[in-house]
């Protein structure tokens, strides 16, 4: 069957099961992009609502953390290695891109392996990798520490601003203002963790959730599976993305996380402090911990006036509700982080609503 035929079949199934209002959060930024790109939201019956969640690691990095790594980038003798998404994220005053223009040595890398190579080639410099990401990316950072230890790369360290998905979901599932009925769980986070850390959504809160892939058809099927759970009056974690996600995940990758890191409370931009939702390197790896190596400032979180990023990350508001959207805040001149990362809700809606000629603002 063609993609179009299959999509029509799934949409018919969704319409049949729609009925009473049903609010679904797509947790992952890559899902948000796929939904915005394919126009799924406009195809759904009015009673089935999709809201975006906090699943863009760049967007949820608090500006106090951004200010800390900006001060690191401005330290003489330090090379900062980062995924490209972080370059234009505004801190309280400036961004990595701006400090780079002023002479800071900031290198964009595709992988922690590239950051290690920069360390090998610059033994007289300190190389710090900015650890931003969820459970999919964290094991790759853990391996880089293992390699640095094996090769005695004493000039390599990481600044861990990593975040964990299940603790923030627990916060959102209980938020009465958001009022969610079901979740589309992040596919590749689950490819590492498996489904066990997401069981609480069904077990403790009796809400359905489905682990979905990233094509339009995957998302439509996941929505249909969520509605089917409601119809059958049950709640479970189901896997739609079975071609990649196994119920047990990838135990070796997950084990790397717990071997190198331990949970700490973390501040999420716009959401605030979430207990045990961040990670720091364990004490025995302090030689590779930028927190220990450098005297980093402890700036306060600052809110950007008018920016709705925080409310958007919690699913309470839509990008189109923000007065800055498409006017003061665009991908070229972003005010908030949701407009910076290509996976941010605002950037996704800006790009694809423009392309379809929809009225974005």
């Amino acid at each position: 069957m063609s993609i179009k035929g299959k999509a029509e079949e799934l949409l018919a199934g969704i319409r049949q099961l729609s009925g009473e209002p049903f609010k679904i959060m797509e947790v992952c930024g890559s899902h948000t992009v796929a939904i915005a790109k394919s126009g799924i939201r406009e195809l759904l019956p009015e009673s089935v609502q999709l809201v975006s969640g906090p699943g863009c690691p760049v967007c949820v990095t608090d500006n106090s953390d951004i200010d800390r790594f900006l001060s690191l980038a401005q330290t003489p003798g330090v090379i900062v290695a980062t995924f490209g998404d972080m370059l234009r994220v505004p801190g309280s005053k400036t961004s990595l891109q701006a400090v780079r223009a002023e002479g800071a040595d900031v290198r964009v890398v595709y992988s922690t392996l590239d950051a290690l190579e920069i360390s090998r080639q610059n033994p007289d410099k300190e190389v710090v990798f900015l650890g931003v990401g969820f459970e999919t990316t964290i094991p790759t950072v853990a391996v880089s520490v293992e390699i640095a230890e094996r090769e005695h790369l004493s000039n390599y360290s990481i600044l861990s601003m990593h975040k964990l998905v299940p603790p923030v979901l627990e916060l959102l599932v209980t938020d009465p203002e958001v009022g969610l009925d079901g979740f589309i769980n992040p596919g590749h986070v689950c490819s590492v963790l498996g489904t066990a850390p997401f069981e609480f959504i069904a077990g403790k809160y009796q809400k359905p959730s489905v682990v979905a892939g990233f094509e339009a058809l995957d998302i439509l099927e996941a929505i249909w599976m969520l509605l089917r759970q409601r119809q059958e009056k049950r709640a479970a974690v189901e896997i739609q993305y079975s071609r990649v996600v196994k119920p047990e995940g990838s135990p070796k990758a997950a084990e790397y996380i717990s071997r190198y890191f331990e949970p700490v409370d973390a501040v999420w931009r716009g959401i605030g402090r979430v207990p045990q939702s961040g990670l720091r390197l364990k004490a025995q790896y302090r030689l590779f911990d930028a927190e220990m190596k450098f005297d980093l400032p402890k700036p306060k979180s600052v809110n950007t006036p008018g920016c709705l990023c925080g409310e958007i990350l919690k699913g309470r508001r839509h990008p189109f509700n923000c007065r800055l959207f498409g006017k003061a805040c665009t991908p070229l001149q972003p005010v908030g982080p949701c407009m910076v990362s290509s996976e941010g809700s605002c950037a996704a809606y800006y790009r694809y609503s423009q392309r379809r000629g929809m009225s974005a603002v």
Binding site: P186, H188, A216, R243, Y256
Partner: protein
């Protein structure tokens, strides 16, 4: 940021593998994969690392879907 794609293993040397990633040759680290890999296996690749070994049929299914989407521009 969490995107990952299937790739076919071409060659393995110690901690890394040369893979065919949608027609491009890349080196990826394989330390996170529990299974012993051999040429012809499929792995899921994220940020320069293989995260897990995939069954060939499921990898082919994903690649076929990605190719169909790319060919038809239906998305």
């Amino acid at each position: 940021m969490c995107l990952a794609i299937p790739a076919k293993v071409i060659n393995i040397v110690e901690h890394s593998a040369e893979v065919d990633l949608m027609g491009n040759s890349r080196q990826v680290n394989i330390d996170l994969v529990a299974d012993i890999l051999k040429p012809g296996d499929y792995v899921l690749v994220h940020a320069g690392f293989a995260l897990e070994r995939l069954d060939e049929s499921t990898a082919q299914e994903t690649l076929a879907l990605l190719e169909e989407v790319a060919a038809k521009g239906e998305y």
